[in-house]
């Protein structure tokens, strides 16, 4: 599928695109999300995607402020509802690259239902979750990925719920590119994001992106001491069963990198209405083939 309006990539000098916007991030100094926005910029620039071919959609949370800091199209929506917005954008013009960004609370809590269905549809979106295991914006309550026993403002006696496992969840829901990054490793992270954008189908990049203000358990050091790279561990990302097994590792050692990748038709491939190309380029209105309908309208 060709891009809606991308210039030919083979000729001329490489694009010098500025992906940073003029809006400065309002995140706390040291917040993990700085590494994520830098990695998104790096991924877009490595793929030479013009800013007008990218739409970044988000929900609500500190992490969901990310679209403002990029010079692409952006849509800052409702808490937990980024995914339906992104699906709408993609279906209206599937020539665009649609990146969804947000937090663990936004995506794995209030918006979980939407994420699951988007994965099941294998719609070609790139979902970057800044997972800090806390609600950052509302100043430090437990999120669906907070650790068992973790004391937060909403759980003074400690969390008593098993955290969501985003990787296992995405694998079982039908996502066809499932990865985990760490904002302390922007090189690996930007490669994973670029891989997700290139991937034809739903891609998840769940990112350990520490909240330095409200989560004193899952810090940069916590992850630095534990992460190891799947690419160095002879992991076969085409093996779903092995990917599931890797997804269960969350202790002294935590894998990052690509867990799983599969080639499958996307929702857009299967939707008859999109056979003739992006909807935005199709003629709108009733096409006159429906005699009975025409008779009655």
């Amino acid at each position: 599928m060709s891009l809606a309006s991308a210039p030919p990539k083979t000729e001329g000098p490489a694009l010098k695109v500025v992906y940073k916007s003029t809006t400065k991030p309002t995140w706390c100094p040291g917040c993990g999300d700085y590494g994520v926005v830098a990695s998104v910029e790096r991924a877009l620039s490595s793929l030479q995607i013009p800013t007008h071919d990218v739409v970044v959609v988000s929900g609500i949370g500190c992490s969901s402020n990310l679209p403002h800091f990029l010079s692409s199209y952006g849509f800052h929506g409702l808490h937990g509802r980024a995914m339906p917005v992104a699906e709408g954008v993609k279906l209206a013009n599937h020539g665009l690259h649609v990146v969804v960004t947000g937090g663990d609370g936004d995506g794995w809590g209030i918006g979980l239902g939407h994420a699951l269905h988007a994965m099941r549809r294998n719609i070609d979106l790139t979902y970057v979750v800044m997972d800090n295991e806390i609600y950052g914006l509302t100043t430090g309550q437990a999120s669906p990925t907070s650790t068992m026993g973790q004391k937060t403002k909403s759980t003074p006696q400690g969390v008593i719920e098993e955290p969501v496992n985003p990787i296992a969840l995405a694998l079982s829901a039908g996502a066809t590119y499932v990865a985990r990054g760490f904002s302390g490793d922007p090189k690996q992270l930007s490669d994973l994001i670029a891989g997700g954008i290139k991937h034809h189908g739903f891609s998840l990049i769940d990112v350990f992106s520490p909240c330095v203000t409200y989560n004193h358990l899952n810090t940069f050091d916590f992850f630095r001491q534990r992460v190891y790279k799947l690419e160095n561990a002879q992991h076969d990302p085409t093996d779903l069963v092995k990917a599931f097994a890797k997804a269960q590792e969350f202790g002294p050692k935590i894998p990052t990198g690509l867990f799983y990748r599969a080639e499958k038709p996307t929702y857009e491939d299967l939707e008859p209405a999109l056979k003739e190309g992006p909807l935005v380029h199709q003629k709108a209105g009733i096409r006159g083939k429906d005699k009975v309908l025409d008779e009655f309208v």
């Binding site: 309002t26 800052h76 809590g109 209030i110 669906p144 403002k153 909403s154 003074p156 006696q157 719920e161």
Partner: protein, 394 residues
């Protein structure tokens, strides 16, 4: 009785604790968070033997309260803005099922554009969901109103949910001295809930069944009747509260210096405090003006407003939200209330304090000036100057 320095949010938490709520369920949203965080602390320290149920959205939070209340528990939740909007479906459910839930709402603007400040669009857009709505003016009144709200909601003649809506930041995050009644005083005022029509252990019954149109309309009429009984019931509750605690708030509409007034301004929430000071100033300048604060917006105090209308020539209403194509939210309802009044004053509708713009004395003076000099001309948007500095994105 002790005197503590409390924010409006902590006043909510202390009141819920004193009411001995049994089930609390909520989802965090600015500026409500500290209400629930404080309650979580009370529960975890053992000061409040209640179930605190953490959920993944406001929709779930209110659903938890509905089921807990349907089992006979005393329940409390709190939210704001988008969270209240997300609860919409369950707001109808709670009142339709006649569950006496009490909810603290921190009234905040709704998006887009995103904004966090005081505004009444969130609560006003829920005014027809069958909840009683109380709009306190001070942190003291927040505490007192929550306690009254439980008595009212659980009264067997009422059995309706009640929201106590405080202005974002002006009350939620501003502290002032608050008289906190003793547990014994509250226990005497608010006995344990007597459940009726709830699920009973050992006796299988079902809730939420389908009915035909004839039964449906009877259910609705009964619900409406319960709402019609609120003014009288609340008056009795307030009287009892006043006797025990020494504070009352004058019923559904609280009047101030309306005797002999040519013009009266109606306000809600925190703007009323400033407006009262402006009335004093104007009175000392010889202007015959007064103030009436709508304390209870649902059920709408039509009788009280008509009574006021029969005594003045000019009535103004200040709103922080409006009805498209009509006037301010309260002004529109005031207009409906006075149309059957034998003497109809000229009505002006002022929109101010939208999205948290400050309602200071100058702005209130402008309203009184308009009220006394100009002819009413539908809704007037006040204070429309652009910001002096472009705000940072955040």
């Amino acid at each position: 009785m002790t005197r503590l320095v409390l924010s409006g949010n902590y006043a909510q938490s202390y009141a819920a604790r004193l009411a001995r709520v049994q089930v609390i369920s909520a989802y965090p949203i600015t500026p409500q968070t500290t209400i629930v965080e404080q309650l979580a602390k009370f529960v975890s320290s053992g000061e409040l033997p209640a179930q605190f149920i953490k959920v993944e959205s406001e929709h779930s939070a209110l659903q938890v309260c509905v089921s807990a209340a349907a089992l006979g528990a005393r329940t409390y939740t709190a939210t704001s803005s988008q969270g209240l909007l997300l609860m919409h479906e369950l707001l109808h459910w709670a009142s339709g099922m006649r569950t006496p839930i009490v909810m603290g709402v921190v009234s905040r603007s709704v998006g887009p554009p995103w904004s966090l400040d005081a505004d009444h669009t969130d609560t006003m857009s829920q005014r027809d969901t069958g909840w009683v709505q109380i709009y306190p003016e001070s942190n003291q009144e927040v505490l007192d109103s929550v306690l009254e709200a439980f008595r009212l909601a659980e009264d067997l003649a009422i059995r309706l949910p009640v929201m106590v809506a405080e202005d974002a930041f002006y009350l939620s995050h501003t502290v002032e001295p608050v008289e906190v009644p003793s547990q014994a005083q509250v226990d005497a005022f608010l006995p344990p809930r007597v459940p009726k029509g709830t699920l009973v252990p050992g006796k299988a019954t079902r809730l939420g069944s389908y009915v035909g149109p004839a039964d449906y309309v009877r259910f609705r009429r009964e619900q409406a009747r319960a709402m019609e009984r609120v003014p009288e019931t609340l008056a009795a509750i307030e009287e009892d509260y006043g006797r025990r605690m020494g504070r009352t708030y004058g019923g559904l509409v609280q009047e101030y210096r309306t005797e002999g007034a040519d013009a009266v301004l109606l306000t809600m929430g925190t703007a009323s405090t400033t407006a009262r000071a402006v009335v004093d100033e104007l009175r000392s300048e010889g202007k015959r003006v007064g103030l009436a604060r709508i304390r209870v917006f649902r059920p709408f105090p039509a009788k009280e407003v008509r009574d006021l209308a029969s005594r003045v020539d000019r009535l103004g209403v200040m709103d922080r939200s409006w009805t498209f194509g009509q006037m301010g939210s309260a002004a529109t309802e005031v207009a409906a209330a006075i149309q059957s009044s034998p003497r109809r004053p000229r009505l002006s509708s002022f929109l101010a304090g939208v999205g948290g713009r400050d309602v200071g004395t100058a702005l209130l003076r402008e309203m009184f000036r308009d009220l006394l000099s100009k002819e009413p001309s539908g809704l007037r948007w006040l204070d429309m100057d652009p910001p002096k500095e472009v705000p940072l994105h955040g």
